[in-house]
Amino acid sequence: MNDDKKQELITVYVDDREVRVPPGTNMIEAAAKAGIEVPHYCYHPKLSVAGNCRMCMVELGMPEKDRATGKPVLDNEGNQKVMWIPKPAIACATKAMPGIRIKTKSDLARSCQEGVMEFLLVNHPLDCPICDQAGECRLQEFATDYGRGYSRFVEEKNVKPKRTLLGPRVMLDDERCILCSRCVRFCQEIADDDVLGFVDRGSYTTLTCYPGKQLENNYSLNTVDICPVGALTSTDFRFKMRPWFLRETHSICTESSVGVNTVVSSREGKIHRITPRRNDEVNDTWMADSGRELYKQVEAKHRLLKAVVDSFETDNVGGAIREAADLLKGERKIAFVGSGRSSVEEQFLFKKLADQAGARLTALVGRVAEGDGLLISADRNPNVRGALVTGLINELPEAELSDLEDAIDKEEIDTVVAYNEDLSAAGISEQQLAKVTIIYVGTHFNETSARARVVLPASTVFEKNGSFINQQYRLQKFLQAVPGRAEGQDDRRILAGMLAEFGVLVSPEIDDVWAEMSETIETFRDIGFMKIPSTGLLLDPPSHLRDLRYPEGGSLHYEPAKEEASVT
């Protein structure tokens, strides 16, 4: 199908509700568009159609046509006659054709749904009270809708392996498995790591890993997400929290410039898990396992929680901000090292501060590694493009700050403001660090913070609002999931506080920052934080930014521009 061609929509009917869809849409999606849920287990919008759970069976009607002429047959009142097929059809494998009709609540459909529901439960352990999936289990949900409420099954249930470790992060309970094959298809079709499969047959069929292999690819936890029952659980999240207690916050994964959309689940200020959030333009419904671990940095041991001035911890963050600002005043030769992990708003304020302080050099620490072609791109900074758009930098960043090294060696720089970046990791030697005064704003202790005159504790991505610009130049926002742990304020307040010391009064409120950005930056014209939709906003960057040779190769929903493809 050609995506460029705008497709004609056709009319189909779901429970007599008219709905217009592109031809070939499957009837589960068509029904969803009509606001009707067709229950299903094995169907997943981003995987191939298996048609094995049989839960989505519906009654199917075709518009009757004259065999000879091909003209529609009409009844006495001039309405299209419908030929109802006596056998039920699975909605997932039924493609929309003009005039096609399904009944999802007829006696036949209902009897199919109830029959399948009963069958799925006969060998299911029904251990919801100790099952992690309870509360977000499709089997539970549909059992409420289509179950009979009691069991007619008096025989012995099948016994299958329990607590099988499929890999380091995924635990399998085969008795709970309903053999929908979603995880198998995911491994084949998305992760390209065909390690899962079924052995034995009939009701004794068992999901298992290929002998001698493990489900250990970096996308293994997606199988847990798509498992409609409690068969696959995350070893990290298992037994930690009931899902109905969890508060869900929309966020963005900071692992790379793909900008995977996520949901951060927390309770009482503690994050329990990160799961992907569907965005058909960015990450579909997937995310890498590594990105799910990032919440652990919030409570990491080396987390910076208090301001430090001259090696003394202080509760007086305001005082520390003043100290830091004082270090930037007067005849100082200052360099500003920003971060591709900071939000657009922070980069904007950081740039403003650099201008006020008369910085001789501003830089960003680049992080380029091999991309996996799926959801981790080569650029491991989530927001280099933000720094470009806000003007913090004009060139793509390098991993080593060689300009800064030279400047320190030539004594052209004597003060460095490091924003959440470890200078020693960016190539600055110990001798060079010893020669400069350092102000460090950041979330965790490192070599640089240890040598800083002033350390200001900042917030992690989970503790603040903000936005990133991903590799597609898509502006995506993340929201605060948990209260900040650090004693200080969130990053915008720190930056606004320092600006105030220079006599520049800016509001740290995110809407106010955006008001100023949309006024001063052409790319952000007419955009406000509240106006960014949950699936992001595609920006139109100036041409000199488009022409830069970005390091990203192809990944899901992203192809680099042609001339960039030749660059490794």
């Binding site: 094995n52 029959g115 399948v116 069958f119």
Partner: protein, 455 residues
């Protein structure tokens, strides 16, 4: 051979001195038809098969010519021919006679068919339990190759065709054509969903594929010989050609018999051809087409109106032996496996046996068959082991009703039809069993006293 038999497929089989080597076959005029067929156009041969009206002998009885006409020749992909030799339906043993005793007839039929559908590669998917059959076919293929009846540039005509024998690993589901294709591709034999995976368009390796039964392919040879129209004169309209019936169970002369379509009745087959029942026994029931078909009770009467509008009223013995003749009973002639049961048969035990088979053979892909077939087996196992409950009779029916028509392949029907028909037709026996057992149990309330240990 019985007077009424007309042996076309089985003509040489079991005749004195007829071996399964190529020399014997050539002495009996073997491969002459293949040589002639090579002189004709493939579409002519396809037309002959269509005109013959031959219906598939694997079980569904779908007209083979029509099946071939669905082939997607426009796709530009290679066309494959697959011979379904996974004869696994309980009560059926016709294909193995052909494979073991007259393999060259099958190979000749396949070559003609492959030529007709322009397939350069053909496979024989043979049941894992036929190891000797596979060896015999391998040898026969080598013999045919040595005479250049198959291989490259056959007999100088420029047509090349290769046949490979592929052994199954022992699964009934591999007889389902899309399951067979998956297995042939080296995967688990999970039947494919239809739509979209109709073999004639998206078959083996997603290429147009024809899967035909052994007997059907043998018939193609004879259609090519006598011409479609001539072949269509054998048997009744819509039931052309001969059919091999496999009779087993409580008859004196079980075996395989070949008749023209509609040449005799079920009664004649049982009493005349097969020598009737054992002394002192009475006929109780007949399964007309392999164990998955609906059972018929001996004293049933089948009334209705046929296609011509004539009323009929048949006793079991009057049923005419062919596809349509059996279909009036509400059951089907399936793969031609007729199982006869006399009055010593316990219907609960018989059904428990059948259900155990289908539970064992369910592939486990789709829910109704996977869970339903095992549930039925567990109930019936319990019933036949002294733990029947009165409510089990209705439960059996209710569970079985939730399976057919709702599964990916026909194994759903195969698992459910026996249960539905046994319970409907021998309900008294099921109830009596439950009542007797309940009375015999010590707790007296009819409940299950001790769980039966299920295997």
């Amino acid at each position: 051979m019985s007077a009424k038999e007309r042996r076309i497929i089985l003509k040489n089989i079991d005749q004195h001195g007829y071996g399964n080597d190529i020399d014997t076959y050539l002495e009996h005029g073997g491969y002459e038809i293949w040589k002639k067929a090579l002189q004709r156009k493939p579409e002519e041969l396809r037309e002959e098969v269509k005109r013959s009206g031959v219906r598939g002998r694997g079980g569904a009885g779908f007209p083979a010519g029509m099946k071939w006409s669905f082939l997607d020749f426009k796709s530009g992909k290679p066309v494959y021919l697959v011979c379904n030799a996974d004869e696994s339906e309980p009560g059926t043993f016709k294909d193995r006679q052909i494979i073991y005793k007259d393999p060259h007839q099958l190979i000749e039929g396949m070559l003609i068919s492959a030529y007709a559908i322009t397939a350069k590669l053909a496979f024989i998917y043979i049941r894992g339990e036929f190891p000797d059959g596979a060896r015999i076919l391998e040898r026969a293929i080598e013999e045919a190759r040595s005479k250049n009846f198959l291989g490259k540039d056959i007999l100088g005509t420029g047509f090349s065709c290769e046949i490979h024998v592929h052994r199954g690993a022992g699964a009934y589901i591999c007889g389902e054509e899309t399951g067979l294709i998956e297995s042939l591709e080296g995967k688990r034999p999970y039947p494919r969903i239809k739509p979209p995976y109709f073999p004639a368009a998206l078959g083996l390796y997603m290429c147009p594929t024809i899967v035909n039964n052994v007997e059907t392919l043998c018939n193609v040879k004879h259609i090519a010989e006598m011409g479609g129209e001539e072949y269509a004169k054998i048997g009744r309209p819509g039931n052309t050609g001969t059919r091999i019936w496999c009779v087993s169970g409580h008859v004196r002369k079980p075996g395989y018999y070949e008749f023209e379509g509609g040449a005799l009745t079920l009664g004649e087959l049982i009493y005349d051809i097969c020598g009737g029942l054992h002394p002192g026994r009475k006929l109780k029931a007949v399964i007309p087409g392999g164990s998955s078909m609906k059972i018929l009770r001996a004293d049933e009467r089948f009334k209705g109106t046929d296609r011509e509008g004539n009323n009929f009223d048949f006793a079991l013995e009057d049923l005419i032996l062919d596809f349509d003749g059996i279909a009036v009973s509400g059951s089907l002639s399936g793969s031609g496996g007729i199982i006869v049961m006399d009055d010593t048969t316990d219907m609960v035990d018989a059904l428990a046996n059948v259900s155990a088979f289908y539970a064992h053979e369910s592939c486990g892909q789709c829910t109704p068959c996977r869970e339903g077939s095992l549930w039925l087996k567990k109930i019936l196992h319990r019933m036949s082991h002294g733990q029947a409950r009165l409510e089990d009779v209705d439960l059996l029916k209710s569970v079985a009703d939730q399976i057919p028509g709702r599964t990916i392949c026909a194994l759903g029907e195969a698992a459910a039809w026996p249960v539905q028909s046994y319970v409907a037709k021998f309900r008294d026996e099921f109830i009596a069993k439950a009542e007797n057992q309940a009375a015999g149990r010590t707790n007296g309330d009819g409940g299950i006293s001790d769980r039966v240990q299920l295997v």
